[in-house]
Amino acid sequence: MDRQDDEGVTAFVRASYGRLLHEAFLLCGDAGRAEDLVQTTLAKTVVVWSRLQRSEGIDNYVQRTLINTYLSARRRRAWWELPFGRLMESQARDEYAGVEQRDWLRRALDALPPRQRAAVVLRFYGDLSEQDAALALGCSVGTVKSLTSRGLRALRQRWVELDATAEHEVRYA
């Protein structure tokens, strides 16, 4: 890469880092992992920077790489990090979130399967069309519709459960 490329890359990293970090956080649910995911994605992009400038759009490539890296990491983790059959203790609430709904949404997203979560984030946070989401996920438009629909249904279900719990807690407080 020459000097001009270096400057272009740095400018691109600065311009896209924040947006990608937010998206990665919604995918991972953890700020540290989100940083790692974004840096890996951008490093991969930098490696093929010259080729990207001659071919497809860089944004599309970055989006696809982010999703692939996230899904691959989840697959790898699923292989060597075997979860317990049941939760031994409930997850601690975010003490600094302050807002009950944010905490709930983070937990609800964590409960989604990775591809459903990615589809939901791409469609409702990234504002991608179904076609673009399909491109990023490497699947058909029909699959995107199905993943999104199932993801939303699961989130709504948890919302209903949360409402019922809150009402119960109020009634017996």
Binding site: V9, T10, V13, R14, Y17, G18, L21, H22, E23, F25, L26, A31, A34, E35, V38, Q39, T40, L42, A43, K44, V46, V47, V99, Q101, R102, L105, R106, V121, F124, Y125, L152, L155, R156, W159
Partner: protein, 431 residues
């Protein structure tokens, strides 16, 4: 979460507090450099593995330089070859005594055996010896059993020893190897080829153009250096091809052909093939220069491995030349018959092509199919079947019952003949 808009807002609110850490640009660039290094190393390792796999494959499959056959150094005028198989000392003594008593220059000295084995499945006893005759000339002799005399050993051929430096294979092809001396076998498949190749040869293939290639078995199967092959009576040394192969010492390597030669010659009572080099050629005739011109007579056949070239029509003894009418010339004609099915007739050259005529019609249906082999008897042989030479193949079927002639395709490419063998009479004969 009552609407999608509300949900989008929740997602944005959830992600909003996350802020990039300090120096993320450097981290990204460092990570990209590390990734590049890893990819280079992976590509290098993959290339090394590919090269290793290719090199191993080449070694295993057998690509690479062709095998060279190292000839053993000659032992004076004799071939410096070891014997093929176990040598039966008693058989060597018996054969030497027979050789000495044959009156062809005995007693023989410094006799060594290339082959001396009993109980061969086809010829019972076989011996191939080299030694000096009484005049000190190196000679080569072949012996086989006489089945009509309780497998008594008989001397079949006694010739000058071959060049000890250039010779790679010695052979004898004859229909006179199973009975009394000089007697032709009564078996239709009574011609035998005895072939001994030099040490180092792993496969010897013996074929004759009187048999179609489809009848030959696995050509790559390894053989002994000694091969005894049975052929129809029409097979002779000039129409026999002997190929030697060496298989490199690699598991999947294919054998490499190291020589391909004509059969050396026949038994002492067989017609002798006299070599001639083409010195002039027209569309109808060729003129060949022959060293042993005294043996050449009009009417004798000129042959190559593929079949009949033509017939001698004129002999110029002072100039050492013989003129041969090609099989397609107008001067060429003679009896012929189809091989195997034995449909009789005669062949004639038309000037440009070859036809078979006088195919009988009538109560017996004589059917000839395209590709059938037509052979011509050798006038120097005792009957029409022994040593008959392929003259051509039927160009088409003669399905019409009334057809008495048909066109043949000569088996020899007459425009590219450089050397021929003229089938001359055996010692003491005249044909």
């Amino acid at each position: 979460m009552h609407s999608e808009t509300e949900f989008r807002g929740h997602l944005a609110a959830l992600a909003e507090p996350v802020k990039p850490v300090e120096g993320y640009e450097d981290k990204v660039m460092r990570r990209s450099r590390r990734l590049r290094r890893q990819r280079r190393m992976t590509a290098g390792a993959a290339a090394a593995v590919c090269v290793a796999v290719l090199v191993t494959a080449f070694r295993v499959v057998g690509f690479g330089s062709a095998s060279q056959l190292a000839a053993p150094p000659p032992d004076g005028p004799f071939l410096g070859w070891s014997a093929a198989g176990d040598v039966d000392a008693g058989l060597v003594r018996e054969a030497t005594a027979l050789w000495d008593a044959a009156g062809t220059g005995g007693p023989h000295t410094a006799v060594r055996a290339f082959v001396a084995l009993r109980n061969d499945q086809q010829l019972h006893s076989i011996a191939v010896l080299e030694g000096y005759d009484q005049q000190g000339a190196a000679r080569l002799a072949f012996f086989t059993s006489d089945v009509s005399a309780a497998n008594a050993l008989r001397l079949r051929a006694d010739r000058p020893a071959p060049d000890p430096v250039t010779t790679q294979v010695i052979s004898l092809v004859s229909p006179r190897l199973t009975g009394p001396v000089g007697a032709v076998s009564t078996d239709d498949f009574g011609t035998y080829a005895i072939v001994v190749a030099m040490p180092g040869v792993t496969t010897v293939r013996v074929s004759n153009t009187i048999i179609d290639d489809e009848m030959i078995g696995d050509p790559d199967a390894p053989t002994s250096r000694l091969v005894v092959q049975r052929f129809p009576l029409a097979a002779t040394a000039p129409t026999t091809t002997i190929s030697g192969f060496v298989k490199p010492n690699r598991p999947l390597a294919k054998p490499t052909k190291v020589f391909e030669v004509q059969g050396d010659g026949g038994a002492d009572d067989d017609p002798r093939a006299v070599p001639g080099k083409v010195s002039a050629a027209t569309g109808q005739q060729i003129v060949v220069a022959v060293q042993q011109i005294q043996a050449v007579r009009r009417g004798q056949l000129a042959v190559v491995t593929e079949g009949l070239v033509g017939r001698v029509t004129a002999v110029d003894v002072p100039r050492g030349e013989a003129t041969i009418d090609l099989v397609t010339s107008t001067g060429f004609a003679g009896p012929a018959y189809t091989s195997i099915s034995d449909v009789p007739g005669s062949v004639r050259g038309t000037g440009t092509s070859l036809v078979m005529e006088h195919i009988p019609t009538g109560s017996i249906v004589y059917s000839i199919s395209a590709g059938n082999r037509v052979v011509m008897p050798d006038p120097c042989q005792p009957n029409d079947h022994v040593g008959a030479v392929t003259v051509g193949r039927a160009s088409s079927d003669n399905k019409a019952a009334s057809a008495t002639s048909m066109e043949l395709t000569p088996t020899v490419d007459l425009t590219h003949v450089r050397e021929v063998s003229i089938m001359t009479s055996p010692a003491g004969g005249d044909c």
